[in-house]
């Protein structure tokens, strides 16, 4: 697949990122909105199109690279982070995006996701969380709520679900964020910030699978309730939410609690968000919040600077080169006990 339209970076538009492939998600799928935001955000980043690579695994979300007119690999189930890691090691100048889902990223590919985060490989991971297996037609996923009735769990699942943000933070993620497919502005903002972050950016996108799990995210998407059930995180700001901006999060000992502003509670009593906190405790605390007792935080939970994997890898290459000089094969072959045979002779040869 190729589209050979070439434009200078400055004048790239959304269209430059649209491939010639027909998009084949179900009508109404949340993936459309994510694709549109991605194609809108990329021209704004100032990265030449040829420097952008999308890598995916298997699942509905993993069709994403086919629809992006950039470099791309549609790989195998759960393994996209591994390909991205290898590519980042040899091409640290690329903007590499991994598109995955809750099954691809947290079930079959869970191990790779963890280690990619831990290593802080300079890539951006978008995990489309619809809490269901869509492509295989409706089995429960590792993020399905306990008790969720699906084709493979007619009596409800008996499994504890993963909290993907807690997992990412537990794996030492340096950039951890959440966005919602239909909150386009906020999604665009998070995508941009993810792109700018050096190291692994992990973004969970609450995505509606209209066919197999249509109401999963109603509480964060429905206009009527969303303001009361989501908390928009803003760095340096007190945590206030609610349609009337009258509710907040206060820390009571080690536990957060929802309080109403007024009647003695002021903004000064509220928890203030700090994306850049070196210690992940606050981010972790936020990642545990959600229904029924808490609003669902949306935005950037954590954004800290640490050396990336390829920086450290190349640093060692340079360090050894400085110590020993650029590799010389002649010398390398002789790094052993050597002996010289002078006189020509018949021998059996070898």
């Amino acid at each position: 697949m190729t589209d050979t339209v070439q434009r200078p970076t400055a004048s790239l538009t959304r269209k430059d990122f649209v491939s010639n492939q027909e998009v084949r998600w179900c009508p109404g799928c949340g993936d459309y909105s994510i694709l549109a935001q991605m194609q809108k955000v990329l021209p704004e980043l100032g990265i030449p199109r040829e420097k952008i690579v999308f890598i995916s695994g298997i699942g509905c979300s993993s069709r994403f690279p086919y629809y992006m007119n950039t470099y791309g690999i549609h790989s195998i189930h759960g393994r996209a982070p591994t390909l991205a890691t290898g590519l980042a090691c040899v091409h640290p100048d690329l903007s590499i995006w991994v598109v995955t889902g809750d099954g691809d990223g947290l079930s079959i590919g869970g191990n790779h996701l963890l280690h990619c985060l831990r290593r802080n490989v300079d890539i951006n991971i978008l995990l489309f969380n619809n809490r269901i297996y869509g492509l295989t037609k409706g089995q429960y996923s590792p993020t399905s709520r306990p008790g969720h009735k699906t084709k493979s769990s007619p009596m409800g699942t008996i499994e504890q679900s993963f909290n993907s943000l807690s997992v990412a933070l537990g794996a030492e993620g340096t950039f951890v964020a959440r966005a919602v497919d239909v909150h386009t502005k906020q999604l665009a903002y998070v995508l941009k910030r993810a792109a700018e972050h050096k190291g692994t950016s992990f973004v969970e996108i609450c995505q509606t699978c209209i066919v197999f799990n249509p109401h999963e995210w109603d509480y964060v998407t429905d206009a009527d309730v969303k303001d009361d059930s989501t908390l928009m995180l803003e760095h340096g700001q007190p945590m206030i939410f609610g349609k009337n901006h009258d509710k907040g999060i206060r820390l009571n000992g080690l536990k957060p609690e929802v309080v109403s502003l007024g009647s003695g509670v002021t903004e000064a009593n509220l928890l203030v968000h700090d994306e850049f906190a070196e210690d992940p405790t606050l981010a972790h605390l936020l990642s545990r919040m959600g229904p029924p007792n808490f609003p669902t935080p949306v935005g950037i939970f954590r954004c800290v600077e640490k050396p990336t994997y390829s920086e450290l890898m190349l640093g060692q290459v340079e360090e050894m080169t400085r110590q020993r000089g650029a590799g010389d094969l002649v010398k390398l072959y002789r790094q052993a006990d050597i002996w010289v045979v002078n006189e020509a002779s018949e021998g059996n040869g070898r």
């Binding site: 040829e50 690579v53 690999i73 591994t82 890691t85 290898g86 091409h91």
Partner: protein
Amino acid sequence: MSDLVGVVPSPGKQPVDSILEEVDTVAVRFAGDSGDGMQLTGTQFTNASAVLGNDVSTLPDFPAEIRAPAGTLAGVSGFQVSISSHDIYTPGDAPQVLVAMNPAALKANLPDLEPEGTIIVNSDNFTPPNLKKAGYDSNPVEDDSLRGHQVIAVPISTLNRNALEDIEGLSNKEKDRCQNFFALGLTFWMYDRTLDTTLKWIQEKFERRPEVAEANARALKAGYHYGETTEAFRHRCRVPRMTVQPGTYRKLTGNEAMALGLVTAARRAGQTLFYGSYPITPASDILHELAAMKNFDVRTFQAEDEIAAMGAVIGAAFGGAFAVTGTSGPGICLKSEAMNLAVALELPMVIIDVQRGGPSTGLPTKTEQTDLLQVMFGRNGESPMPVLAPCAPADCFTMAIEAFRLAVRAMHPVVVLSDGYLANSSEPWRIPDPEELPAIEVRHRTDPEGFFPYIRDEETLARPWVLPGTPGLEHRIGGLGKQDVTGYVSYDPQDHEHMVKIQAEKVARLANAIPEQPVFGPEKGDLLVVGWGSTFGAIRSAVMDAQSAGKSVAHAHIRYLNPFPRNLGEVLSRYRQVLVAEMNLGQLAMLLNVRYARRVTQLNKVQGRPFKIAEILRKINEIVR
């Protein structure tokens, strides 16, 4: 002997007159507890002999457990080395000398010893508890059970302690750890080796701990001197230097050779070498070697698992690096899925399988050739895989370069089948001039004009290798069914069959790029012995023996297993019978049967150990009377 002045191993004794006999070839096995340093002892004996101009061939044999209980059969570690004044291809069928540091080492290795072979034991370790641990009811050195062998009981522990008595700053335990060098010194006396190589090694190795260097050097000299002054060692042997092609030589193992070959291929092509791997016996040494070569623009990645290692290699290959992974059979099982993706993506990379005993975890430290059919066919769908097999430790160097040459030519993954024996055994290697080695030409397409990701070269059928970052060539590739040329996702029946066929044809066409199958021996005749991989040495030696006995026997060793050399079918047809010897139940035999409809006789061994020359010779003699 001036360097030995001052060492008094057994007070009051004077050097005895000794007889020095010239022999052609000798094989010695050092055996002890895995903590006794037998690998090191054997390596030092090998190095000293190589430097003296002998051909050498080694076979280490160590337990899978790092520290099995001391004194038990499970914990026995051995190292066999054969030294010769002419070309040798194996470490010898049966050693003439066994150095056994304890009863378990004796028990485990005695069956391999030559019927009249010499046994040197550390008699200090033949105590009742040790005898019991090894399962001996009585002391074999004292009862009559070793009859036929020359048994020399040496109180190595005591003599070693005495020799090191006045060294300050070392505990008795540390002094005892020099016992292996005492034993080594003794064998140096027996085979008239100079101590220089090992003394130099000791000085370098223990530069920072002079007292340890001193202790090891003294133990070595004490062992040598003990031989000199003891009646039992009057009879000595010397293996004269062999006549070889002039040049600079070193010794190297298959794993070392593999690492050197990989880095050479990448350097000669001016590319980054990316090695993604997960630790696994017996392949890990390749990772260790390469991790220490970062100044050659080598990037090593120790992945979280075998799957990730293979995935990362694909990513690196997509990025234009010379990408390679190394593993063993159990790792190939895990990598198969990603290897299949590599076939579908048509990207060049190398997969090294250092085979070991299977199935499952099997025999991690033992050798076998049981992954041939796995790498050929062990993937879903029609997934053709080129397969190469080096035949000797140094050949791993050549075949690593070959693998990259073919991978780049066809834009396809290539498997190299090594095995535990090749990986760990060593042989002398005439150091080449890197400038004279083939440079692999790499072309990354940059021209957008008429570009499609699966547009093919007419001759090789390879698709273009495009680096991400190249403007105007943005494209997507994937594991889904696709149309040729455009690479568009397609489930069309015709597109699919065309793609399957063209990939098969692409791999088949590599036959045009590899040498024809050479034959050693008569061009036609009674019997052709066919082998692949590490069985080369044993087969070649057996065939040479049969030829000297006047038999019409030839040897063809196949280093290119897929595709086969283009003349192979014709070669097989020139002999009345074909014998395929391999360390499995007949995997190459099956491929030959299917491909050439050629009935073959099989010789199979699946014991985790290489063939002995005699085993192959016996079979040859059965067939050609």
